[in-house]
C-alpha cells in the first residue's frame, strides 16, 4: 500500500454499549428489582417500574460463518426486537418484552438448529480457545473437542438437572487460556521439547527463552558449532512455555501430548472464596476427531456430582464436603503420586490434621 493511502486510525477504543441496547434495557438501566427463571434457557427480569423483559439464551458453534451470523440476525429481526447480547461463554441472547413472543423465538432458534439453554443449574456452554484452527502453539483442537462433548452433554445444557451450574473449559496448552472451570480439559505434555538445533540461532532470542522457563531448565549451548539451547531433562516439567517464543523447542507431540482433567475451579464468591481447579485425571489420549476418552471422564465426574452433590454446591464445594479420597473412590479414578503438589506453596495442600473420613 502506498504511503498516501495510509489512513491514520481514529483511536476510539471501546464503543459505547448504550447505542446497541434494547430501549427497554436503556430505560431501566440500574433499576432492576428481581429476576425469575421461568424455564431453561429463559430469564425474566422485572424492573422497579414493573416493566418486564424476557431473555432467551442459545448456544451456537461459536465460530460463526457469515450465513449463520445472518441467520441469527434474521431470527432477531423476525422474532425479537433486533437487539442481542453475547454472554462470556459465547451464547447469544435475545430480548423480548412480550411473554407471548418467548415460545415463537425458542421455536425459531430450535428450528434453525441452535440450542436453547445454558441457564441456572445446567451444564453451560464450554469456554474454549482456538486450537489447531488458529493458534500457533496448540497441543489439540478446541472447537472440535467442544463440538464432540456438547453433542453428548446437550441434555444437560437444555435442562436444569445439575446441583448448581457447571462451567466446563478446554485449553490447548498449559498456559490455559480457557481459564478455570468446574471441570477443565487441558493439554498436558509428558515429554521435554525436542530441539531443532539448526533453527534456534535464527529464530529465537535465546536469553528470553532461558528466562521464560519456570524451573530454569534451559541454558544456552553450542550444538554442532551453532549457538542453540539445551534442556536439563531431569528438571524439565514439560510445560511448553519455551515453545511460543522459540518454535524450534518442539513440545507438541502426536503421541505424548495428552489431556488432563481438572475440577473445582470457581470464579464466584458465593458461599466460599473463588477457587482454582485441581488435577484429577491425566494421560487421556488426545484423540481426534471426537475425543471419546476425554468425554467419558467428564461424564463420569458429572454423573457422580449429579448423584451426590447438594443443591447449590458447585463441583469443588461438593468435593471439599465429601473429601478427596471419596471423590477418587466414587469416580474410580486412580490417585497417583502426580496428584501431590510439588509447586510453590505445596505444603499448604497437604493434610496437617487428623481430619480423615472412614
Amino acid at each position: 500500500m502506498a504511503l498516501e493511502d495510509m489512513r491514520p486510525p481514529i483511536e476510539t477504543g471501546c464503543p459505547d454499549g448504550f447505542q446497541y441496547m434494547h430501549p427497554m434495557l436503556r430505560r431501566n438501566f440500574g433499576l432492576w428489582a428481581y429476576h425469575e427463571d421461568p424455564q431453561p434457557g429463559v430469564l425474566l427480569h422485572v424492573a422497579k417500574s414493573g416493566e418486564k423483559v424476557w431473555t432467551v439464551r442459545a448456544g451456537t458453534q461459536r465460530i460463526l460463518d457469515i450465513f449463520t451470523l445472518r441467520k441469527l440476525c434474521d431470527i432477531g429481526d423476525q422474532q425479537a426486537d433486533g437487539y442481542v447480547h453475547f454472554t462470556i461463554r459465547s451464547n447469544i441472547e435475545y430480548f423480548v418484552t412480550d411473554e407471548a413472543k418467548v415460545q415463537p423465538l425458542i421455536d425459531a432458534l430450535t428450528e434453525a438448529g441452535f440450542i436453547v439453554g445454558g441457564t441456572r443449574n445446567s451444564v453451560a456452554m464450554m469456554s474454549h480457545t482456538q486450537g489447531w484452527l488458529h493458534c500457533d502453539i496448540p497441543g489439540t483442537d478446541a472447537s472440535g473437542v467442544v463440538k464432540a462433548m456438547m453433542d453428548e452433554l446437550i441434555t444437560e445444557f437444555k435442562e436444569w438437572n445439575m446441583p448448581n451450574r457447571v462451567h466446563l473449559t478446554t485449553s490447548c496448552c498449559q498456559i490455559n487460556c480457557g481459564g478455570q472451570g468446574d471441570i477443565a480439559i487441558n493439554v498436558q505434555h509428558t515429554k521435554p521439547p525436542k530441539i531443532n538445533h539448526d533453527l534456534v540461532a535464527n529464530v529465537c532470542e535465546r536469553p528470553s527463552v532461558v528466562a521464560r522457563c519456570p524451573v530454569a531448565a534451559i541454558r544456552p549451548a553450542l550444538v554442532n558449532g551453532k549457538p542453540s539451547l539445551e534442556v536439563d531433562e531431569k528438571k524439565c516439567i514439560c510445560c511448553g512455555a519455551c515453545f511460543p517464543p522459540c518454535p524450534p523447542m518442539m513440545i507438541n507431540d502426536a503421541e505424548h501430548s495428552k489431556l488432563a482433567v481438572w475440577v473445582g475451579g470457581n470464579h464466584s464468591n458465593a458461599r466460599g472464596k473463588p477457587t482454582f481447579q485441581k488435577l484429577v485425571a491425566a494421560g487421556i489420549p488426545n484423540n481426534p476427531p471426537r475425543w471419546p476418552e476425554a468425554t467419558a471422564v467428564v461424564k463420569n465426574i458429572l454423573n457422580a456430582y449429579k448423584a451426590d452433590a447438594r443443591d447449590w454446591e458447585r463441583v469443588g464445594e461438593w468435593v471439599e464436603r465429601i473429601g478427596w479420597p471419596r471423590f477418587f473412590e466414587i469416580t474410580n479414578l486412580p490417585f497417583t503420586k502426580y496428584h501431590v503438589d510439588t509447586w510453590k506453596g505445596a505444603r499448604n495442600s497437604l493434610n496437617a490434621s487428623t481430619h480423615i473420613r472412614f
Binding site: P9, C14, W32, L72, W132, K147, C177, R310
Partner: protein, 417 residues
Amino acid sequence: MATKHVTPMLDELETGPWPSFISGFKRLRDDHPDARINGLANGLLGQLEHSYETRKGYWKGGTVSVFGYGGGIIPRFSEVGHAFTESKEFHTVRVQPPASNFYTTDMLRQLGDSWEKHGSGLVTFHGQTGNIMFIGTDTSRIQHFFDEINEYGFDLGGAGPCVRTAMSCIGSARCEMSCYNEQAAHRHLVNNFTDDVHRPALPYKFKFKFSGCPNDCQNAIERADFAVIGTWRDDMRVDQAEFKAAMEKKGRQYIIDNVITRCPTQALSLNDDDTIAVDNRNCVRCMHCLNVLPKALGVGNDKGVTILIGGKRTLKIGDLMGTVVVPFMKLRTEEDFERIVEMAEEVVDFWAENGLEHERTGEMIERIGLVNFLEGIGIDVDPNMVSNPRQSSYIRMDGWDEAAVEWFEKKAEKAAS
C-alpha cells in the same frame, strides 16, 4: 478454487445435535458466491484435517499490523502453505466489542458485510480476552477492513505486551445484583489507556475486567490484573413478605438447608415467626442468599466497588488470584471515575517501571511483596487485604512504633473527615 480437500475426520464433526462449525466452513466453501472465500474455506478445511490426522498445529506468528498501530492483529502464516495455498495467510483481527457485549442486528450485519468483503466470513463473539475475533484474512486486506470498520466506530483490541481489551458483565443493563455502572467504568478505564492498547510496550499483558457483583461473572479475580467488583456497604435489602412467600413455596426445610445454613459467616438466622434476621456487620457479601432468593433479598443502597490486583493464569509462576487493594470505593460521580483512572495509571506506571520482561502484575507483587507494591502506588495497608496476618516471625520490626502511630493517626484523620 483448488480441488476440494477431502476431510474424513472433520466430516465426523458434522454429526450430532450441537451446531457444527465444520458445516459452517463447508457452506463458505461450497455455497458462497465469492471464489476468494470458497478458496479460503477450502484451504482452512484442508489444513485443519491435516492437523487432525497428524495431531499437530501448523500456524506460525509474524508481524502484521495497521498503519499507526503496533498490535491488534494475530498474524498467522501456515507452515504447510504449499499444500493449502489459498489460506496460507490467515490472520485474525481483534476488535473491541461495545461495553457489555451489546449489538443491534443491524450492526452485526454491517460488521459481517465488511468482513465478507475483506476476510473469510468467519467470526467469533468473543475470544477469551473479550475481543470480536475476525478470523482469517491476508496482510493486504487487513488495512482496508480496519479502515472500513474504524470509520463506523470500531477499533482494534490489544495483542501482545499491552493493555488488553476489557470485559464487562451485562450488569446494570439487566441485572438486579449490579452495584455500579460497569459500562462506564469499563470505558473510562480502558479508553484512558488507548495508546497502551495499540502500541505494545509494557512488560506483558494487562487486563481489566468488570463484574457488577461478587458473583464475578467475568472471572475478574481469577484472570484480571485489575478486577473491579461491585459490592455494597450498608444493609442488604430484605423483603420479609417475599421471604415468607418463598418459604411457603419451597418449604421450611429448603430455606434452612439452602439459605440459612449456607451462609459462610453464619450471618443469617430464621426467626420464630418465619422472618429472616441478617447480621449485616458480619455479612461478607458472598451473594449466595441473594442468588437463591433474588425476590426477597437484594443488594444494599450504599453501592461501590472492591478492586483486586494481580490475577492471572499459569504462565510463569503458577495461577494467582487478585489481591484486595481497595476494599471499597464509591463509583458514581465524575470525580469517583477520575480517582479510579488515576489509581489505574499509578498501577500500570509502577508495573511498567518495575516489572520484569514477561512478568504480570501479580508476579511482580509476588516477587517484591504487597507492601512494596502498595508503597509504590501510594495506598495504605488495610487488614482487608490479607486472609490472616503474618505467621512467620522472621521479620525485622524496628519501625513498629512509627507504623502504629501512623495507623492511629490515619484512623483519626478518617474519623474526622
